[in-house]
């Protein structure tokens, strides 16, 4: 392995996605490196979830190339932890927190076999990391939005991913819990690259260290700097309104 140097986890080259002839992503180029904590902002319908699905190999781009640690997106899945958008599951589903977290090991365990002691240890440790071990026997639907989000993060962590993809993780989470989640991500980035996607510009806080804007096209300078033009092109409205409430550290003067 390349110690010391920065390893590229995901590389997208000239990626285009069309749905029924309408383009959703155009000419997207993106490199995500080890230890990156990248926030991707953009309006609803701007292609953020589509971009995540392309990285996960759930959607095949109509043009361009995706590589995950040198593999195709589909083969690279085992290196990627995914935390889908909240509310996409049946809250009455009969499964405990423990059962949900163990599901994250299914891709790694041998088929037809029970979970091994190592799988259970990983599930235990992941729940400890997200501070949800006390809730392991609770039914998943009984938890609050923020607690569920933590469980889904633990489910992604049990597979020991090199990259964590978070789709709108702050939706349905109240503000004190949001700060706690960011502190959790800060802790996790020692171990993996993190990509956080949000339509809410203020939700992408000072914790991320790189920002990209996405609205069909991706505006990204491999840094935390975004220009007024980028924002305007992304949101297609005057920047002053959008930039309001954004920490100054995010909007540096772009030269």
């Amino acid at each position: 392995m390349q110690h010391g140097s920065t390893r590229t986890i995901v590389k997208l080259e000239d990626v285009w996605v069309h749905f029924d002839g309408v383009s959703v992503l155009e000419e997207v180029n993106l490199s995500i490196n080890q230890h990156d904590f990248l926030g991707i902002i953009g309006p609803n319908g701007g292609g953020k979830t589509t971009l995540l699905k392309v990285i996960l190999g759930l959607l095949k781009p109509s043009r361009g190339k995706v590589t995950v640690l040198g593999h195709t997106a589909e083969e690279g899945r085992k290196f990627v932890g995914y935390v889908p958008q909240y509310s996409l599951f049946d809250h009455e589903f009969p499964v405990s927190v423990w059962g949900v977290v163990l599901m994250g090991r299914l891709g790694h365990k041998k088929p037809f076999r029970d979970y091994s002691e190592a799988d259970k240890k990983l599930a235990h440790d992941s729940l400890e990391t997200v501070e949800m071990l006390d809730f392991k026997d609770a039914q998943i639907g009984k938890l609050s939005g923020g607690q569920q989000q933590r469980v889904f993060i633990a489910r992604a962590l049990v597979a020991e991913p090199k990259l964590l993809l978070l789709d709108e993780p702050m939706a349905s989470v109240d503000s004190p819990m949001q700060t706690e989640l960011y502190e959790l991500f800060e802790k996790l980035r020692q171990r993996m690259a993190i990509v956080l996607v949000s339509h809410d510009i203020s939700a992408v806080s000072i914790y991320v260290d790189k920002i990209a804007c996405l609205n069909r096209r991706l505006f990204y300078h491999n840094s935390k700097e975004i220009t007024a033009e980028d924002l305007e092109a992304t949101y297609q409205c005057p920047v002053e309104i959008i930039a309001h409430g954004v920490p100054h550290r995010v909007l540096k003067e772009h030269k």
Partner: protein
Amino acid sequence: MIEILQYEFMRNALIAALLASIACGIIGVYVVVKRIVFISGGIAHAAFGGIGLGYFLGVNPVLGVIPFSIAAALSMGVVSKRTKIPEDTAIGILWVMGMALGVIFVALSPGYAPELFGYLFGSILTVPTSDIILMLSLNAAIIAVVFSLHREFQAISFDEEYATTIGLPTERLYLLLLCLIALTVVLLIRIVGVILVIALLTIPAAMSRQFTHRLSSMMFLSVFLCAVFTIGGLWLSYAFDLPSGAMIVLVSGTAFILSTVSTGLYAHRRFL
């Protein structure tokens, strides 16, 4: 009650009810939690084509149902996953085509089809011993598959897309689950008939869900409820001399309504 057990047809009926309850309780839980009641109804009705095929070929109609319902399950699964036709539309079309094929096969068969009504609405009192053996082996197959793949089935029921992202072969697992539903339909045809099968695939599982939040406990409870409903319905049909399949369905439905109302009232009272 005991004296009716001296008749072989009654003993067979009871054994058949218990055997059907095992498969129906286990697979019904997946039908309910994965919300695939409609596709299961489609498979059950399309299975009528297999009954027609059995008549046409002059073999035991239940033997015609096995390949036919599996073919129906696979084609519904593949068409709804891989084509742009909306899933419910695809199911609706294959549902009626299966039944129509059954009618054509029966019309083409020489002679008269005497037990046709029984296959449509159940004829638990006419289960021959050969069918009991078939039911035993189908149960064994279903239990073996669920026992070895229940973690995977739980994952695709909870969130199929997420299951794909962790590298599970979700489409193949889903098709396998549909085949298990098809085999359960075969088991249930003798009990309630193709038209009423969906009642036993949904009601016991849906009712067990009101009492537990664990998939495995749901399965045990729904096997138990299914057995109670079929035997209770059988006894009522004997006592009042009414059709057994319909009685079993009415007993199940009534129990579900009573259970829903009473648990709802209980939840309501706690807030007062």
